[in-house]
Symmetry: C2
Subunit: 506 residues, 2 copies
């Protein structure tokens, strides 16, 4: 059994090496990505994050489901802020590790004419030199992302390569506003990007006197909502996720980009940490061994009402196969006319309804906990990709029910003091399925307190420790934790980011 | 000015007395309820809650906008649990007090054939005598409701008369399940109401072996969600609110039932307090001077994304007059082609978009705080009634954007110890607009600690004290609080319910 998987792996890994990604033979598997009928090339070849700097031999070694080797940062390859990282492949549920990660330091700058569409361009940090110095101001940005792929690794790989650049470029478009952190962003911009104030004098004189009108000439409208710079950055992140999703869809015309992925990103800029989550990965801040949750999970259960509402308003999306009403279990034909508990999109409690023919359809949301699914197909409700995903053996698309927009939470780094053991932990669900927030916090705090504070590897070692706690060790009865409970058989990816990292770096 | 209001009042009050409600003259104003063109009679005459026991003279006196007399429970009329109550009319924004309240002790019992549709029937507590004793078990239920009407008082009055009965009757239908509080309610019921177990043996033998299938014969389905009795009661309350809303719509064919109302209800049954809120009223529990919020407010701002999502999915509901996209202010025609901040139903942050013709439409959600409106019309997004409500001078209905389903929170009374100063405070927005949760808690705690614990009036006096703090006193510059800030000019209704009330009663 083990060797069979391994043999398949060898063939695959042979075909997924970076040097092989320009060959488009029909037998070329596309690195675990299902090729379409027209055998498109993969958008990016399969691989592990660049910062791991794996040799082809190590890359192949990383895919061994039998031993599940833990990959960590090498001692001589540093990530910014001394970020710690560890990952491990699943126990056999997919050929390749469908998790991906990225950790990047970038600079936000005004787009020059030449680089208007610079998403695919490397951030080499070289100043352009042609413009006066003050037009080249650059705002540093730190990015960490974990991407948990499903049904192929294509979307996760693409997102890990491009999402941070999309965010950087969108921030670049408002760079001139970010440079004045103390003034609120203008509501309206002229085409050249400068603030635009509509002339309201004429209009105002025609209107009857309004007691609410403010006489201050800087407020020219009866009602103008204040928007903060923070709200603008959140908007950039939200729209960049949408843009990433659109890009995957668009490039699927030319490339094989398989599956979809949950996306969790942390962005540090101007003293604030923005944590954006679309899916079931999780991030927590551990400060003085206290847990501050930075994400909510988006699953069929947590987003039940949103999904039911869509199914209710747009029943055609259910393809006559599904009902938006939830029942505690499947209904049998013999139960027609009986009364059964249900809840619709407006309810959190349960009530009885008389069962009619329509209720015999399969429920839009079905199952509990990790087994909950949308239309019996997918267990997460936010993420990137999945544009082709259909209900098995049908023409019903899942995508309309999925959201690519993250929830963004903000943590003010500058307003809090951090010791060297205060960290942000980001992990895919493989980590959290078997280890609670509290257990993670206790483990990290205990581990770091025993570690030399000046050891640059300490955060990677802490990440490795966390990962081992969730993977467990291989025993006769599978992967087991010290308490004999089942370890996670999923891909696991962990970042441990010291919150005092910016200072540690200098 | 004052006497003009007063004269109008006298005429009105003359027409709104209970003894006048069978007269259907054309000049009969319907008790502040706008009569339709066909001059339908009001469903219920205007009045104040029965438990205030007002004489016609006092009822007229209660409507004096100039003096805004505070009405409280009389010393000799007791509400169950020694519940305290106070109310005051607005400062002139509507002729009559559009708030309503109810406080009822009822009994949940199995519906007999005779009384299947007993909603309009008084709960006289007389046992039916025809059935064996064990079939007449009755579960006591305590109900408190505040209803904040708008655009007329018809819906608020009707809800205050009937909502508790609908809840009682729906609970009656599941009375045999409530009698066994320790067993989970059955998923499926036969027509006679007894648990129904489908035969799954045949189906199971035809299916391939499923490793997840449970062999325990009591769990006969692969997946069956556990539903608690509490979930069932929540479902009853949610569906009873919907039923109340449907009833208002249905009876509008025969009666004048003006306006709509926010509805906040507290229901005590079997040791638990269920607080159900649809609108912008608020309830808090004060325990040891700690505040436990029991409601969230539902306003255009708090429900922005739900409303925008509906406008996005069903643009025809916006009648070509409104856009579901939110902008920080109105856009002028001269700004076409410029870029403006916006957010759509998926976003919480803001981004810039190029303004197109469609963006010049009025925004679905517009305004901030108390001035936020749905389609420039209504400032609350949940409640009962409003079936006829349209955007001014248009044929665009607001109702599709409003939800009649409350959010229900549960507080376990039995699991907590309560002193005589621990209370539930329920109030319409008139109370909370000028007084914070913290201020209310401090005021109640301070007031009650100075009151004789055995005085049956202490909770009514505390309610009156709270109300005075929000109304203020009439000065030259209007209703003012001690700190000179403006008092609430709105109708105000307050219940102060002692959480140890059940013991106080005996």
């Amino acid at each position: 059994m083990i060797s069979k998987v391994k043999n398949a792996m060898s063939t695959l890994v042979g075909g997924m090496m970076p040097h092989g990604h320009h060959h488009h033979h029909n037998h070329h598997s596309g690195g675990g990505q299902t090729c379409g009928p027209d055998s498109l090339p993969p958008r990016f070849p399969y691989g592990r994050p660049d910062f791991l700097d794996l040799t082809p031999e190590l890359l192949q070694y990383s895919t061994e489901h039998a031993s599940r080797p833990v990959l960590t940062l090498k001692r001589d390859s540093r990530l910014h802020w001394r970020t710690g990282y560890a990952e491990v492949i699943n126990a056999g549920k997919s050929m390749l590790n469908e998790d991906q990660a990225s950790c990047e330091k970038l600079f936000v700058k005004k787009p020059s004419g030449k680089h208007r569409n610079s998403t695919l361009q490397e951030d080499n940090g070289v100043s352009e030199g042609r413009r006066p110095e003050h037009q080249n101001r650059r705002i540093p940005l730190h990015f960490w992302g974990v991407f948990d792929g499903h049904a192929g690794s294509g979307a996760a790989i693409m997102a890990s390569k491009l999402l941070h650049r999309l965010i950087r470029d969108r921030l670049g478009e408002i760079c001139h506003l970010l440079e004045n952190p103390n003034s609120a962003p203008p509501i309206c911009l002229a085409k050249n990007g400068s603030p635009y104030q509509a002339d309201t004098k004429k209009g105002a004189s025609q209107e009857p006197e309004d007691p609410d009108a403010v006489s201050d000439s800087t407020v020219r409208f009866h009602m103008e909502k204040a928007v903060s710079l923070e709200g603008l950055v959140i908007g950039v992140i939200e729209t960049a996720f949408s843009q990433m999703d659109d890009l995957i869809e668009k490039e699927k015309a030319s490339y094989a980009i398989s599956g979809g992925c949950c996306a969790l990103a942390a962005i540090h800029m101007m003293g604030k940490l923005y944590v954006a989550n679309a899916g079931d990965s999780r991030a927590i801040i551990i400060r003085n061994n206290e847990v501050i949750p930075m994400t909510n999970e988006f699953t069929p259960e947590s987003e039940r009402q949103r999904l039911q509402y869509l199914g209710f308003l747009r029943p055609e999306l259910l393809g006559n196969e599904f009902t938006h009403i939830e029942f505690p279990r499947r209904i049998q034909h013999s139960e027609l006319g009986k009364k059964m508990l249900y809840r619709d999109h407006t309810m959190t409690g349960w009530a009885y309804k008389t069962i009619v023919e329509d209720d015999l359809k399969f429920p839009l949301i079905y199952g509990e906990g990790k087994k909950a699914r949308v239309m019996a197909t997918i267990g997460v409700t936010r993420g990137l990709g999945d544009h082709d995903l259909k209900v098995y053996n049908s023409n019903i698309y899942i995508k309309p029910f999925l959201s690519c927009v993250p929830e963004v939470k903000v943590y003010n780094l500058d307003e809090n003091k951090h010791g060297p053991d205060d960290v942000l932990v980001m992990g895919t669900d493989g980590l959290w399925d078997v280890t609670t927030d509290r257990e993670v916090a206790d483990a990290v705090t205990a581990y770091l307190s025993c570690c030399d504070p000046s050891d640059p590897m300490r955060y990677t070692l802490a990440a490795q420790d966390l990962l081992m706690r969730s993977r467990g060790v291989l025993k006769e009865r599978g992967w087991r934790l010290p308490n004999e409970r089942l370890g996670s058989g999923d891909d696991i990816t962990v970042f441990v980011v010291p919150l005092a990292g910016l200072e540690l770096e200098t």
